[in-house]
Symmetry: C2
Subunit: 346 residues, 2 copies
């Protein structure tokens, strides 16, 4: 099951593909979508949605294989590009992911950037979830190669816990690309005869018109916490996730989906009636029904909220994302104790 | 200069044109954009932007003539549709406006709906600015015919002064169209095995993923103010705009752009040196330089902020939008006195 994508899509990013194609590649949408093949493989949510929204069509998105940890396989990326070109399509963009939603996987950006460089493709990195890791000297190696991206999406409202919404699109470009893509020179808003430098009016670069000043809360938080304060948040989240993982390993009836490399801790709660029954034919079917029952119980008790989901061939498992800077080891203990309490009769 | 638009565009609305075309009209984007002609006329900001963003291309937007008050001319709409069809294009959407940005004009919706009905076109009404007028028994006639629209966009964050952002898209459709357009069934978010009716999970109907609950503030405000409280806000805004207009008429050196029908009050401040010189050849050129100078002065003094803009062949004029429910007649007096004070030496 792939967690990473190629072709085309800047997803929810405020870069109109049409304008981008014209400005950067000199091609028009018709060329880019021609002979888009049907990709029946399931791929990440916002990419398909973005392709539909931007008029490229979901069929123009090709899914690249991911390894068992959810990381894009660069060799398959190269293969997909070759196949697309052979079919007469015009590949133009690769979207890699730093911190996938479920497993928290980081794609191998250096190897992907090499492929993009060989084929002249725009490298977009969806670092919405994992981008904040750059603030940690200890963990930033997970994003090695991101400096080669043409564009990066980053949501400080995720791991940094800035208020919703706070999203940044970072570009390598220095040619005022966003203005060239989106500028519409609405004369009632972007007057050129102002008394100050109108280059400071950035509103014409974005898709929206009336909107909140989303960057202000990030700036204020950064001023208040400092580089070190934010780094501490990241490092603490990693440490707390590690604590949770070790506690899960110690307890009976809890099984990790995999050893995490980020702060997404994915695991099954195996209830007493299923312990030691891994070999029975209906084990996985019965196990996948446990998380929804526990979720219902915790919501009705009002004690906590933990998300669950299936993933590829894996049945429903819990995913604890350790991000809130107010969390402590005691909260992790409570979480596991509460799961055991709620599921003891299952 | 047109203030209204046809073909295609749901602009910033959360309906992907591709999906809409497939779901409602059974056509694909390629057909809709074929032989899109170049429209060189200037038209409303978000419509062109939306067409670019959605991959339809700005050339597929055709501008319909507006009368001298900025209202769409239904006869020209009919003519444009005929021309588009003759060129092999596939018209599918008419975007009318209830409350244009600058002049505050309301398009004649009944006549436009007749045209749309004859040609089987989707009628979208951009009531972002003017939609709140429906809450006033006295003024809601401005929107007569809006009940015939297929979709309506409404921003309570404008005239009702709800906090940014608060935008609604209202649909005639009862077939769960938004879900059919945008639904992507992300299994990590929209689990079907929950203990409650999952039809209550509306997240899969929208384009965005992580976002604020923008409807909550509208609901709270409505509960706090009631229908009557909100109606009072609208009626008061109209009354205050009327007061401002009458004051403008009384004073020397202030000239209305036109008698407003909404709360947009557009006028020129004619400084002492230009009074009585309407016939001199450089009058309009000199007049259009006045507003930027006054804007600079008011900003530097910190006394007020009034927007200005050119519009069609008209040079820069001020536009006071009377919407804040805390405004009083004294504020209107201050505004005009302050303009006179700041501009007395010009």
């Amino acid at each position: 099951m792939a967690d990473s994508e190629v072709l085309p899509s800047l997803a929810g990013d405020p870069v109109a593909v049409e304008a981008l194609l014209r400005a950067v590649f000199g091609v028009v949408v018709d060329e880019a979508i021609q002979k888009g093949t049907s990709a029946s493989q399931k791929c990440h949510y916002s990419i398909q949605k973005g392709a539909a929204f931007l008029g490229l069509g979901t069929d123009s998105v090709r899914v690249v294989k991911a390894d068992e940890r959810g990381k894009m396989v660069p060799e398959d990326l190269e293969r997909q590009i070759g196949m697309a070109e052979a079919e007469g399509a015009v590949p133009f963009l690769v979207s890699a992911t730093s911190g996938t939603t479920v497993l928290g996987a980081f794609d191998p950006l250096e190897a992907i950037a090499d492929v993009c460089q060989r084929h002249g493709l725009w490298l977009h990195v969806d670092a919405a979830w994992g981008g904040s890791v750059l603030l940690s000297q200890t963990h930033r190696h997970l994003l090695d190669g991101i400096q080669r991206a043409d564009s990066v999406a980053w949501n400080p409202h995720k791991l940094l816990a800035a208020g919703l919404q706070c999203s940044a699109l970072l570009l390598q470009d220095t040619s005022n690309l966003l203005k060239r893509c989106h500028g519409s020179q609405a004369s009632y808003l972007f007057q050129q005869d102002k008394f100050y430098d109108v280059a400071l009016d950035t509103g014409d670069k974005v898709v929206q018109c009336g909107r909140r000043v989303d960057c202000l809360k990030l700036w204020l938080m950064w001023k208040a916490q400092g580089d070190q304060g934010l780094e501490r948040r990241i490092d603490q989240a990693f440490a707390l996730a590690r604590y949770l993982v070790e506690e899960i390993k110690k307890r009976e009836g809890l099984e990790l989906v995999m050893e995490p490399e980020f702060v997404n801790v994915c695991f099954w709660f195996v209830p007493p009636s299923l312990r030691g029954k891994q070999d029975s034919p209906d084990y996985h079917e019965r196990l996948s029904k446990v998380a929804p029952v526990l979720k219902e119980r915790m919501v009705k008790e009002g004690s906590m909220m933990i998300g669950y989901q299936p993933h590829g061939t894996r049945g429903n498992f819990f995913r604890v994302v350790v991000a809130n800077p107010a969390l402590t080891c005691a909260d992790m203990d409570f979480l596991l104790n509460e799961l055991e309490r709620l599921g003891q009769d299952l």
